[in-house]
Amino acid sequence: MKVLVSVKRVVDYNVKVRVKSDGTGVDVANVKMSMNPFDEIAVEEAVRLKEKGVVTEIIAVSCGVTQCQETLRTAMAIGADRAILVETAVELQPLAVAKLLKALIDKEQPGMVILGKQAIDDDCNQTGQMLAALADLPQGTFASKVEIVDGKALITREVDGGSETVSLTLPAVITTDLRLNEPRYVTLPNIMKAKKKPMETLTPEALGVDVTPRIKTLKVVEPAKRSAGIKVPDVATLVAKLKTEAKVI
């Protein structure tokens, strides 16, 4: 079975972002960029399924600027076999990315598409569900366990208060939650090997997809700051303050 895994290039999770002073967005010039952590989990899961013999080929896909090539090389260093970059300088929103991935499903006919549940820059949590809708496929979102049993995907999903299990016919769309796996560290030999793996470049136009944004960002500001309160010397003072000052107990 062929698997498509989508990866997004985002500001590294360790970077504290700064809002631009003109309110147009977040300053991403000269900051470290990395693969979205949830997407790393998606690639890792695909590689584990390949190691189990369930999956035969892993295709990593990224949509965006030229530099997404680096993210795709990382995906191939983890274990993806080849990569597709859908290159565009246009700001891509989840619906547009879902349409691009749908076009690639038609082209590549994968048995499964695995995506991170959410990107840590726009925090949308939409692309996987949208892709499943456009391709008319079942969806297993927020997966904490993925098994392929009798030609079906058995997905354990994180839900409020616990977990639930659904059985999906294949092909299916799966999005990863944090606890699905712990991605491996990429080794130097694998980074070298990844440089030789094939990478194809396409464009939204070539795929016949309109990627015009549907949502316009009017302004971006710093969140309201919460000011620090006071330090209390002991538990007795704390209890007194909570009772008489804050009146919450």
Binding site: V26, D123, Q129, R179, K216, A246
Partner: protein, 310 residues
């Protein structure tokens, strides 16, 4: 202009997040209808009809809707979507699962995690784990939004008298089968609805100590128990207790953080709490920068002391 709120419910009653979502929908400026899609959900539909501000309840009932599967819920919502200007979901695990599927079927964008309704088409939402707030305008005819419940007060559960209209239920998708669920049973208030939350971090050191130290305090305060991602990753607490950008977003009256350093991703999940108490050994812990009351102390001594003093 009419907004449709997709209710979260357990077939017998309406879940808390729905009330906050109704408030957000009312702020969009038009009438508000509520869809209760479930199985034997007559009681939930009747309860929805009592919510203040709701003028109509759509009730769809079928086995296919019993577990809120996204494939079936989407078909049910899309069937009525053309009559609405807004489709409004709570940003819960259920809402997040279904809303984007609906949006894509309608070929419209979605605005996730709305914290403020500025106008019928303009919304505020957090990005970068709450480190920036974006004001965005939806350019589509139907606005699909998910609502962060802590950003809106709950609508009154009574006072309304909406009409209930029964919908024909859609057919079940053959692509998906619900196999079962494991929902942790406890008598504590739900994390996102709790008035008081006692949360622990990696400093607790083990699952046993996490329980031994925090449970008596939570019992005494009638509080829900929360955890930092570090504590969850270390296996001290279950994943659904996680408070933070990748877990639950909470805003209780009182949040007690014990042994939590205060990583950005955790603060994003609890900084809207009314009163924050931090107990931490490390005077430099970032949690103190958002705490109303900081106690620099060993939690293994301070928490039992606190319990005794209450």
């Amino acid at each position: 202009m009419t907004a449709l709120v997709i209710a979260e419910h357990d077939n017998a009653s309406i879940k808390g997040a729905t009330f906050n979502t109704v408030t957000a929908a009312l702020q969009c400026g038009g009438d508000v209808h509520v869809l209760v899609a479930g199985s034997n959900a007559g009681a939930a539909a009747a309860a929805a009809a009592q919510i203040a501000g709701v003028s109509k309840v759509l009730h769809a009932d079928s086995d296919a809707l019993a577990h809120g599967l996204a494939e079936n819920m989407t078909a049910q919502i899309v069937a009525v979507a053309a009559s609405y200007s807004h489709l409004v979901f709570p940003a819960t695990a259920g809402g997040k699962n279904v809303a984007p599927r609906v949006a894509a079927k309608l070929d419209v964008g979605q605005v996730s995690d709305v914290t403020k309704v500025e106008s019928a088409d303009t919304f505020e939402r957090p990005i970068y784990a709450g480190n920036a707030m974006a004001t965005v305008q939806s350019l589509d005819a139907i606005k699909v939004i998910t609502v962060r419940t802590t950003g809106f007060d709950p609508a009154a559960a009574t006072g309304g008298s909406a009409v209930i209209e029964v919908l024909g239920a859609v057919a079940a998708s053959a692509q998906v089968t619900y196999m079962g669920s494991e929902i942790a049973k406890n008598d504590r208030p739900e994390l996102t609805a709790a008035k008081v939350i006692v949360a622990g971090g990696r400093a607790l050191g083990s699952a046993e100590k996490f329980n031994d130290v925090l449970t008596p305090l939570a019992d005494k305060l009638g509080a829900a128990i929360g955890a930092s991602r570090a504590a969850v990753d270390a296996g001290y607490a279950a994943n659904d207790l996680q408070v933070g950008q990748t877990g639950k977003i909470v805003a209780p009256q009182l949040y007690i953080a014990a042994g939590i350093s205060g990583a950005i991703q955790h603060l994003a999940g609890m900084k809207d709490s009314k009163v924050i108490v931090a107990i931490n050994k490390d005077p430099e812990a970032p949690i103190f920068s958002v705490a109303d009351y900081g106690l620099e102390a060993d939690l293994f001594i301070a928490v039992p002391e606190l319990l005794a003093a209450l």
